[in-house]
Symmetry: C2
DNA sequence: CGCCTCCACTTAATCGTTTAAGTATATTAG
DNA sequence: CTAATATACTTAAACGATTAAGTGGAGGCG
C-alpha cells in the first residue's frame, strides 16, 4: 500500500534517495536518512517483495522439495521436525519457504519450472525420489541446491551418519547378549544402503552371523508393512531375539504386531527403532533407537544453502555429517 | 529466463499479443494463438510470478499462520496433517503457501506486515494465540482470512465439533460403566471451552457427578505436564477409573505415567485421547478417541479461503462444522 | 582564479507482465 | 459507395522497486 513514492513525496526527495536510504547505501546525508527512516516507520512502510524480486532477481524465498512417496507428505514427526528447523533457520536469515511441487493448478510443470516461476533463490531437497528425472533436472540446474540424506556431485549435502548409527545400535544390542537379530529396512535409498552397510559391518566385526531370511525389506514410516513382516518373523519357530525397524514410527507398529502375537517387549523379544523422534521417548517401553539430530539436519541444510546463495563464489559445496546419539531405551533387554 | 519478449520476437508479434494469447483472451486469432502456444512450449516458457503479482496484485500465494506456543511449530501429527491438507488443496487451485511469521531476518514485523510484504492473497490461521493483538490486527485487516477452530465475526471459520466429540466420548465411557471420570484439558482456548461444555453437559444428562479435583488443566501436546497431572490423579486413594487427555499425543504420555505407577491400561485404568491421529491406531492398546477429520479441516479452510479470494462479492463468510467420529479403542474397558 | 574532487542527491532505465486505449484492415449495413 | 462495426492486432503506461549514470554545488589545492 505505502510505497517508496509516498515516502519520497512526504520527504521531498526522489524515490531513488528513499530506496538508498532504506537499504543503507552510503551516499545519503545523515539527516536525510534519518528523516526518511522516521517517515517510513510512521507510514508503516513495508517493501513489496514482488517488485524487489523482479528487479533484483532475489526473492528471499527458498524452495523445499518434500515428497513422501507413501503418505501425505509432512505427516511424520521426523520430516516435520526437519521441515520446522529449515523453516526457522530460513526465517532467521529473512527468507520464506515455498513448497515445490509439480503442477500449479491444472498445468503440469516440473519441479524446476515451479522454482523458476516463483524465482526461489535455492532449494532444499529434504525427501524425494532421487532417481526421478525431475529431481535430477533440478539438481543439474544452476539453482543452488542442498540435499538432506543424499549426495550429489558438487552439491551441498547434509547427512546423518547412518553407518555409524546402525553400527552403534548393533553393538548395543550385541552387548546385551543378542546374536539372533533381524533387520527390517526401508526402500533401497542411500539411507538404506548406509544403514545396511553399517549393520553388516558391525555384525561381521562382532562375529555375528545373520541368515538372509532375517534381512527383510519393509517400507519407511509404514507400520502396516512392518507389522506384516514382523508377524512373519515371529511365526518362524527359529525366531530372532531382536528386531530392527526402519524407523521409530514403524517400530511402534511392529510392537503392536508383537503384542498381538501374545508376546511382550522386551521380555519376549526386543525391538529397535531409528530416528529418535520425541514419540520414541513417550511410548512405553522407551525405544532403543539412534537419535538423529533432526534439528541440525534442517538447520544446517538451510544455513549452508543460504551461504551458497549469498556467497556463491566462496561457498564450499561439500557434505556435512550430522552426529546422532544412541538412545538406550527399555525395548531391548539383557539376555544371558 | 524465457520471457514474453522472447516469444514475441520468435513469433513476430508484440508482447501484448503473447500475453493475451497465453491468458486466453478472446481478441487473438486462432493460428496466431496456436503458434504462440507452440513456441512458448518449445522454449519452455514459464511466467514470472513476481512480475505478474506486481502488476495484478494477485500472488497466488496464501499465508499460513501456524504458531504452536509450546513447541517447535508443526511437529505434531495433528497440525502437520492439517497443514498438509491445506497445502495440497492450495496446490490443486494453483496456489503456493507461505508461512507467516514475525520478523524477517533482524527486522521485527507484524504478521500483517509479513503478509503485505509477500502480497499473499489470503491467510489461513491454523493455530495461534487468538488473543494476540497481532493476530487481531490480521483478522481485522482487509485480507481474506479463514480460521481453523476459532470463530471471528464475519470471517470464514472451519471448526470441528468439539462439543459433540466430547459428548460422544463421555457417553462411550459411561456406557462402559465408568462414572469416576477425570478430565485433563488443554489451555483455555475456544477449543477447550467447547470440549468442557460438552463434557459437563453429557455428565449432567447422564447424572454423573464429577468432583472439581478431577477437572485439571494440562497443556495440549505436552506429554510431560499431562504425565505429572496423571501421577497426581493416581496418587489420590479415591482415584478415577478413566482419564480423558487433551489429545492423543499427550494421552500416550499419560499411558507412560500410568505404567510407571505399576498399573495397566485398560485393566486397571482407562484412558481416552482426542484427535484420532494415525498414531492413536498404532499404539497398543488402540486409543479410544474422537477422530477429527483433519484432512477436511485443512481442505475446507483452504477451499473456502480461495473461494473468497476469487469471488469476494459472493463468498459466504460463515462457519463450517466438520464432523468427526468415535474411535472405540481398547484403552477403555468395560467395568461392571 | 581555475580546476578537480567529493558529496548528496536526481534522472531515467529497467525487471516481466498486464491491460486500457489506439489503429489498420476487412466486413457488413444502409 | 460510404459509413459503421468487428477483428486482430500494437502502443504505451503502469505496477514498485533498484541502480548506473548524471548533476550541481561546496570545498580543497596549486
Amino acid at each position: 500500500m505505502v510505497s517508496l513514492k509516498d515516502i519520497a513525496q512526504r520527504c521531498g526527495v526522489s524515490t531513488a534517495t528513499v530506496s538508498k536510504a532504506l537499504n543503507g547505501q552510503p551516499d545519503i546525508g545523515e539527516e536525510t536518512r534519518s528523516r526518511i527512516l522516521r517517515i517510513a516507520d510512521e507510514l508503516g512502510y513495508m517493501a513489496n517483495a514482488s517488485a524487489r524480486a523482479l528487479k533484483t532477481k532475489r526473492s528471499y524465498n527458498i524452495g523445499v522439495l518434500f515428497v513422501d512417496p507413501m503418505h501425505g507428505g509432512l505427516a511424520h514427526e521426523f520430516f516435520s521436525t526437519v521441515l520446522d528447523s529449515i523453516r526457522s533457520e530460513a526465517e532467521r536469515h529473512g527468507y520464506d519457504i515455498t513448497f515445490i511441487n509439480r503442477g500449479l493448478g491444472q498445468r503440469e510443470t516440473s519441479y524446476l519450472q515451479h522454482c523458476r516461476y516463483r524465482g526461489v533463490d535455492g532449494v532444499v531437497i529434504a525427501s524425494a525420489d532421487f532417481t526421478d528425472p525431475m529431481v535430477t533436472e533440478l539438481v543439474q540446474s544452476d539453482l543452488p541446491v542442498a540435499t538432506i540424506d543424499h549426495v550429489f556431485n558438487d552439491r551441498i549435502a547434509v547427512l546423518s551418519d547412518n553407518l555409524r548409527g546402525m553400527d552403534a545400535l548393533v553393538r548395543f544390542v550385541a552387548a546385551k547378549g543378542h546374536r539372533k537379530i533381524a533387520l527390517i529396512h526401508g526402500e533401497p535409498t542411500s539411507v538404506t544402503v548406509g544403514r545396511l552397510t553399517g549393520f553388516h559391518r558391525a555384525c561381521e566385526e562382532l562375529g555375528i552371523q545373520i541368515p538372509d531370511k532375517w534381512i527383510r525389506q519393509g517400507v519407511f514410516h509404514d507400520p502396516k508393512s512392518c507389522s506384516a513382516i514382523t508377524r512373519e518373523l515371529l511365526e518362524d519357530p527359529d525366531r530372532p531375539t531382536c528386531i530392527f525397524f526402519p524407523d521409530d514410527y514403524s517400530c511402534i507398529g511392529g510392537l503392536n504386531a508383537i503384542h498381538d502375537a501374545g508376546l511382550r517387549v522386551p521380555e519376549d523379544i526386543s525391538a529397535v527403532g531409528y530416528d529418535g523422534i520425541p514419540l520414541s521417548r513417550i511410548v512405553s517401553p522407551v525405544l532403543a533407537t539412534w537419535r538423529q539430530d533432526t534439528g541440525a539436519l534442517g538447520t544446517l541444510a538451510a544455513a549452508r544453502l543460504i551461504e551458497q546463495i549469498e556467497h556463491p563464489r566462496t561457498a564450499i559445496l561439500d557434505r556435512v555429517i550430522v552426529e546422532g546419539r544412541l538412545q538406550e531405551g527399555g525395548s531391548v533387554r539383557q539376555i544371558c
